[in-house]
Symmetry: C2
Subunit: 303 residues, 2 copies
Amino acid sequence: MDLRKLRYFLTVAEERNLGRAATLLHISQPPLTRQIHQLEQELGVQLFNRTPKGMELTEAGTLLAQEARNIFSLVQQASEKTQRASQGRLGRLDIAVFGSGVLDTIPRLLLRFKQDYPEVKVVLHTMEKEEQIQALRQHRITVGFNRMLKPLPDLTSELVNRERLLLAVNENSPLATQSVIKFRELADYPMVLFSSSSRPNFVDKVMSLCYAAGFTPEITQEVGDVVTGVSLVASGFGVCLVSKSASSLSLPGVVYREISDLPENATIDLSCVFRSGDDSRLLTSFLETLRNFKREEMIGEVE
Amino acid sequence: MDLRKLRYFLTVAEERNLGRAATLLHISQPPLTRQIHQLEQELGVQLFNRTPKGMELTEAGTLLAQEARNIFSLVQQASEKTQRASQGRLGRLDIAVFGSGVLDTIPRLLLRFKQDYPEVKVVLHTMEKEEQIQALRQHRITVGFNRMLKPLPDLTSELVNRERLLLAVNENSPLATQSVIKFRELADYPMVLFSSSSRPNFVDKVMSLCYAAGFTPEITQEVGDVVTGVSLVASGFGVCLVSKSASSLSLPGVVYREISDLPENATIDLSCVFRSGDDSRLLTSFLETLRNFKREEMIGEVE
DNA sequence: GTTTCTCCATACCTTTTCTGCATGAAGACA
DNA sequence: TGTCTTCATGCAGAAAAGGTATGGAGAAAC
């Protein structure tokens, strides 16, 4: 059974007349007769009763006509969906985020993407950096978000934004009342820091800043993620250096303070990683939204 | 886009290799290549990335493959359903019953038909006799049930069963306590009867029985249907002659009694009517069940 | 009752489309 | 570099679909 035969059948079923149906189909009547006969023979079912008045549907024919309409509707949809998918406007995009990366920037970006491409289903996976790299290579995800990725040949990373460090301090700490905080002063306060296993680059960055400022920080507790870190600050474990976007995380007893003399390079980069040479249309769409988003964010910061 | 191309596409999509797919499809590789190209061109969408390892689905291709599977499943179902419909095992059968005909016999028959042909959807319509005739001629129904139809050239009627008359009497009436009731005795009791507009044949039959017995009945009330008639008996309006199947209608205060000397022809026929020469498979199926049903009912009565 | 008209079916030929064989081009792998 | 695998292309043959002419059967009109 072929779609042409089915189309012919449906037209005859609706016209109840071979001649008119043939005209509508832009063919002559005899081949149409043959195609209908063939369809009946293929199915082993009589679809029409031939009367002097025309072609009258049998019960089986009536049912097939309904089914045929469904089939054509599905075929039509399939064609349209395929075309939308080829334009990166329909489909499924698997994205990985790291534990605390879901704060601030990424949700706003994803919301923006959802507005731009409402038919794309975004599936979020929580993965740490190494897991993301593996998942990208295995095509389990298309995009990963993380911080400070070392360059890799098969993966391309693109900077999403660069945030200066902020200090999370307990509201009862003397630092909370100071109008200006210098980095050097942190030497006098215990510090909560990520464990070097979970965020080696971040730890290295903080440690090297401290060394440059001439002190070794007193680490009271190592934590695996920002939320835990900030909640320890709330409990009075010490101060904690976090990225600016983490300041959207407001816990009772915690305030965020800028450090006045932070060096230029004391920043945390949020990057977006994908397979080099991935020409997927969904990725292209996503990167387009990402670049628009960056442009608008920069304008926002300048203002 | 025709089903052949779609089948080819799906096979290639599943094999991810033109050569293997061609083997499975029992064609050689070059035509398959061309068909895939044509499909891509028709849709204006690249469905595969050609790699030295084989054919790799694009996002659009992945989506089309899913849709294609749905389409084939629907086509398969359509074919099977059509064949079942041609055997009278699937479809919709519109049946008309008269007001009180839904009592006893017809429900049992319909239940039996539902067991024999579970995939046939029976739609019941309540219509009086003349309405049924019109509906049959307009093909709005396929079968009608009614009582005592006069012969018509374009409609065939088949006897379903023949029921003797029963007398519905109020439990307080002297007749209720009598062991034997003779027809002649009805002359002394007021009677509830159908109006001659709703059941002319039934009224004629009762009146002629009374005349033959030598009396004219005192009609206290004319009613349109059995249920009303029997409820008037319950209220003490008089006695009412009903068909045996109506006795399944039990109302408080009403008992049913046989009449000992009822003539042979004092019967009510339940007939089934359909268009003469209707060769619909559903009707054939229905009549087959009906005849089996009649056979079993007769055996039941003999026992 | 015959004619005419309207349908669908069949015969025969033409045209299009698909298929197979042979072969080419390009990247992977040893 | 040679070989292997994979997809792409040219050309001829086969199959399927389409067109024209015509037949046959029933309904409607005269």
